[in-house]
């Protein structure tokens, strides 16, 4: 009951925001002309993308070393040309079914400033540009980390991850002590 009440309140809030947003006129008409270079990849059957700006390279998933006593979204660490990088599994955030890790999996190495992490992808599709106007904010039903990690969704149902947030999110800092 409590949950349904909460939901109904939330629905009300969402509906209010939507009404408010629809009531506003677009501020900058030039946004349509601007583009964004993205790297599309697959997680399960869903299409995801990251901004090419933050991508350092794509690397075959090899020699994954699993770390014990870590949260499940941290798959482990890989050695890419001498550099040790953590690999996170974005599927865990979006409740997507795992498929098992093979050599066909790729690690997309993203960086922001000096911080670099690997994101596991099932398959890397390609890089291309998308118009910014095509991007819509994430749906309001997403809350918590789901909402925070997304930058937007295109009309082609391409989900754009927000690398800056992923890299800088405090929740991704792992500090656990095992006795």
């Amino acid at each position: 009951m409590g949950r349904s009440q909460e939901m109904s309140e939330e629905k009300k809030r969402i509906l209010r925001e939507r009404a408010k947003r629809l009531a506003q006129e677009p501020k900058d008409a030039r946004t349509y002309e601007r583009e964004m270079e993205v790297l599309e990849f697959l997680l399960g059957r869903e299409r995801y993308a990251v901004e090419t700006e933050y991508v350092r390279e794509v690397y075959p998933m090899k020699e994954l070393t699993v770390l014990p006593c870590t949260p499940d979204f941290l798959l482990g660490i890989v050695n890419i040309r001498g550099e040790i990088l953590p690999v996170i599994d974005v599927k865990k955030f979006f409740d997507l079914p795992g498929k098992g890790i093979t050599n066909l999996n790729k690690v997309i190495v993203v960086r922001k400033d000096s911080m670099a992490i690997g994101i596991l992808s099932d398959e890397v599709i390609n890089t291309y540009a998308i118009p910014l106007s095509d991007l819509t904010p994430p749906p309001p039903i997403l809350t918590g980390i789901k909402a925070d990690l997304l930058k937007g969704i295109t009309h082609q149902q391409l989900i754009l991850l927000d690398i800056e947030k992923i890299v800088s999110d405090k929740r991704l800092i792992i500090h656990e002590e095992i006795e």
Partner: protein, 687 residues
Amino acid sequence: MKNMTLGKKLLTGGLLAVAIPIIIVGIVSVYQASKNTYKDKQDDMTIISESLAGSLETTMYEQLFVIKNISYSNSVIAAAEKMEKEGEKKSRHEIALAEKELIKIKNAEGDRLSSVNIVDRNGIFFASSDRKTFKGTDISKREYFINALKGKPSAGSVVVSATTGRVVCTSAAPVYSSNGKDITGVVIIALELRFFSDISQKMKIGKGGYIFIVDKNGLYITHPVKEKILKESIFQTKGMEDVSELIRQGKKGNREYTVEGIRRVASVAPVNITGWSVVSVVPVDELYAPARFTRNVIISVGTIFLLLASVFFYLFSRSLTRPMGEVVDAAQKIASGDLSLNISSPDRHDEIGRLIHAFNEMVRSLKEKIQVAERIAANDLTADVMPSSERDALGNALATMVDTMRKQIQEIVEGVNILATSGNEIMASVTQLTSGAAETSTAVTETTTTVEEVKQTAEVSNQKARHVVELGQKTAEIAKLGLKSIEDTIAGISRIKEQTEAIADMVVRLSEQSQAIGEIITTVSDIAEQSNLLAVNASIEAAKAGEHGKGFAVVAQEIKSLADQSKQATALIRTILFDVQKAISSSVMATEQGNKAVEAGVKLSTQAGESIEALAESVTEAANAAIQIAASNQQQLAGMDQVVSAMENIRDASIETAGSAKQTERAAHDLHNLGQKLQEMVSRYKI
């Protein structure tokens, strides 16, 4: 005694207890009383006799005294003397004087004296108190006159008066002359005997007793029977000898005698002066009268008390025996098994009341037992018997009986059920048996027919057997030919086998080569993948380079498309190779199967050869067997005849069997019915 009822016993005992003392006391007291009264009465009689005798004696003495006085009287002496001397005529004066004297005396004595007289020495009356009567009477012959003349006065002579004819008692005394020497006359007094009679009659003893007086000669002076007086003598009376003896001796005493059948007691007392005896007589019976009275009293009182006692004991015994009788009747009824009784129990608290109560209790208890028994009889065994006590033999026996019956009935029920089931089964079996017997009978008849047919068939088979012998010989020849062709076939198949093995080797080699091709394709696919990745990275780098990287980006895109194409090509090759490998596998399998088929063919051919060989032998054997069959058929024909006759016997037997099976069926039916009846009977029991 043993057969007497209790009431009679009580009655008898009580009456005896009352009667015996009464009888003893009665006998003793009667005996005593009779003894005492007998003695008393005798004493009384003696006293009476003696007192009468005494008084008579006194009277006689008085008479003597009186007569002596008269004789001494002057006028009498003078008259007698004158008369003696001068005769009657001259002494008239003196006689007159004497007569006056005599009349005076007579009058003084009254009626007691009948007369006073003076007689002369010749016995002639010359003076008398009653002159007219007695004058001139002569009494010279009388004893008392003679005695008086001798000087002896006497009294008590009873005589019949010469003048009057009446019986009188005379006394006589001599009259002496004045000088007192000569006897001049005799004075005679006649006493009326009536006087004695009166006395003796007055002194009656009891009812039948009486008194009489006899003189010394035994003549009756007084007696109740007047005719006897002075006419009969007691000495002549028969039966009175004892009494007569006493009288004769002048003694006193008591004697018993019997005259005319009556026993009497006589008490004798003598009167000495006259020689008389006074005898008082009483019948013995009268003596015993008081004793008889006592006896009668005792008898009547005893009888009354006996009656009262018998009534009392009768009532008492009735009060005992009636309820006892009821109880006895009840006990007899119970003994005869009749319990429909109820002893009316008046409110008695003695032993009989308790007996009746105990009887009713017993009957009640028995009725309970009987109810249980009736329930048992009505097949109800659910009854629980509660014994009245531990020693209640009947109750315990009933309880044990019910228990035992229950168990037995249960066993019987089980047995009957088994029996009924068995009966059913037996009946079913017997019915089957009967139908089977009938069938057997039919079958036997059929069999007999069949045997006839078999006989004919045997003849046919005999012919056939000969035919088989011929055929067998032909077949053996054909089998030899078959053997040869089989050997040829085996040789051909062996050649096919060698060639097939060669094909298999080649196919295996082909498979190994296709495996190598697969590995190569994987390598190529890997390379394409890496190229693709490189292309992506290149495009990323190109993007980073901005405007300067645009051309490189195009190149990178081209490389990527090449990599994609090579990926697709390898995928295609892989598909084809996969098909090829499948085909190779199939051919490997096919060659192996071919190999096996060839081996099987060799084996089969060999077997066929062996079979044909065996067939040839068999046919030969069959031919031999057919010969034997022909021989045995002959024997069979002979056997068949025997079988036919045996079948006849069997048919008769089976008909009998069918008949007895029918009987058995009836019996089984009866058994079945019996089982069902038993079940019905047993089902009536409630356990």
